[in-house]
Structure formats: C-alpha cells, structure tokens
C-alpha cells in the first residue's frame, strides 16, 4: 500500500489531516489535467475542488475500494466533473476570461494562460467526450487503456473519439482557412 492509499485509509477513520496530505500530493497534477480539458484555469480549480469534496465524501462512506491507485481514482473523478462542466458550458457559455485575471499573476505564466485560451478556442465546438479524450491522450500522454478506464468506456470508443476529434479539428481549420 502506497503513502496516499495509507492516507485514504486514515481519512476513512476520520482523520481530516490525512486528506490534506492527499490534496498536497495531487492538486497540481489534477488542476493541470482539468485546465487542459476545460481550457480555463478558474473553472479548472472549481472542478477540482468539487471533485475533492465528492472524493472525501466517498472515502468517508468507504466507496474507495483500492482496486485502482488513489491518484488514478481522483483523476477519474476530475475528468468526469470536467466533462460535466463542458456540457453545462455548451448550455450556458462562460462570459468571463480568467486568462487576464490578475489573481493568476505570479502563479501561472501569461504564456500558459494564453496557450489555454488558444486551446479553448481551438477545441471549442468539439463534443465534450472527444475534447476530453484528445486532451488526455495528446496533452497528458495517457494511454488509450488509461483513458478508457478514466472515462468508463472501451478502448475502441477512445480510438473512435480521437479520430473524430482530429477530423473535426481539421475540418474547422480548413473552414477557417477558406473563410479568410
């Protein structure tokens, strides 16, 4: 049993301090994953925070069975929350832009924030599942098996989403190119 799984066990026994260890060890990676999927820093933080709250409740209720490693389990929760956020964004588009938000100064470089804006604009319009799959595959470097496990689908579905996402991006690029 790894240190994080050990911490999860202590959380189940009611030790909140152990959950702090889990957050400290995993938050940077999870926020990066969420930001790359969603394309927005502030929204990514919200998604990860909600994911941590539901993970804590699941731990207390003994719903973490230890079949997967704790970071993998947390990443799965974050990805599902991120897809939910993308779906609700399609219904209610966000108007604010955290790329120029001064509260990020000194925390994340302006280049990274602008890259996220570019990523968001480019992938905007993709089906949330396709977008998440492409982000996890190309940006996070996860294998198709890991993505399938995280998204609760087959490897075949992952491959299909990757192909469709690339085709959609190519079509969009061609359309933009012919429009200008």
């Amino acid at each position: 049993m790894g240190p994080l799984e050990n911490a999860a066990l202590r959380v189940q026994q009611g030790e909140l301090e152990a959950f702090k260890e889990i957050v400290q060890a995993t938050s940077a990676q999870l926020v990066r994953v969420a930001a790359r999927v969603i394309g927005d820093m502030a929204e990514a933080e919200d998604v990860v925070q909600e994911a941590y709250v539901s993970a804590y409740q699941a731990l207390i209720l003994g719903q973490f069975d230890g079949r997967s490693r704790l970071p993998t389990w947390l990443r799965r929760i974050v990805i599902n929350r991120a897809i939910d956020a993308l779906r609700s964004r399609r219904r209610r588009p966000r108007l604010d832009d955290s790329a120029l938000d001064a509260s990020w100064d000194g925390a994340v470089s302006i280049e990274s924030r602008l890259a996220l804006v570019e990523l968001n604009d480019w992938m905007n319009g993709l089906v949330p599942e396709q977008r998440a799959t492409l982000s996890l595959s190309v940006l996070e470097g996860l294998s198709n098996l890991e993505i399938a496990d995280a998204m609760g689908c087959t490897e075949g579905a992952v491959e299909q989403r990757l192909v469709r996402a690339r085709v959609a991006l190519r079509q969009r690029s061609q359309k933009n190119g012919s429009a200008t």
Binding site: L16, A28, Q49, Y52, Y56, V138, R166, S173
Partner: protein
C-alpha cells in the same frame, strides 16, 4: 491556410508544452480543505434533517394509528355498555 494532420499534431505538441507548468493558485489547498470541512458540516445537518423528517413521518403515522385505535376502542366500549344495559334491562 490548409492545416494538415502534421500541423495539427505540431500545434497540439506546442500547446502541451506551453501548458506544462500550470498549477493552482496559492491558497488552493486551504480552500479545498475548507470546502471539505463545510461539506462535512452540511452533511451532518442534512443527516439531522433526514432523520428528523423520518421521525416526523413516523410520528404522523403513530398519531393516525393511535386515533384509529382510540376510535375503535371507544366504539367497542360503547357497544359493551349497550350490551350491559340490555342485559340489565332483561334481568330486571
């Protein structure tokens, strides 16, 4: 400009590199722990409310049953009294 598959991959690779150093703002961990603690308090209150709601429903059912039994009991008592009076009448 026509974007070929290779240029799509190149753009993805560039964006991957550019977003590599993304991490949460300072104080994020504290905010998460606060939200977790608050959710625990809300859960506790929700639990009390849930138990209280069930208690209220059980109380209503208990009152209804008690009323039914009381009415039945009163009717039976009246019946017994009537029989008793009848018995007295016939004996008398």
């Amino acid at each position: 400009m026509d974007q070929q598959p290779s240029s799509i991959e190149a753009r993805l690779a560039r964006l991957s590199c550019a977003t590599e150093n993304i991490h949460p703002r300072p104080g994020f961990e504290e905010r998460v722990l606060l939200a977790v603690q608050q959710s625990a308090v809300i859960d506790w209150r929700a639990g009390v409310w849930r138990v209280g709601r069930y208690g209220l429903i059980l109380s209503v059912v208990a009152v209804a049953l008690a009323t039914v039994f009381a009415v039945q009991g009163a009717a039976r008592a009246d019946e017994m009294q009537a029989i008793a009076y009848g018995t007295v009448d016939s004996e008398w």
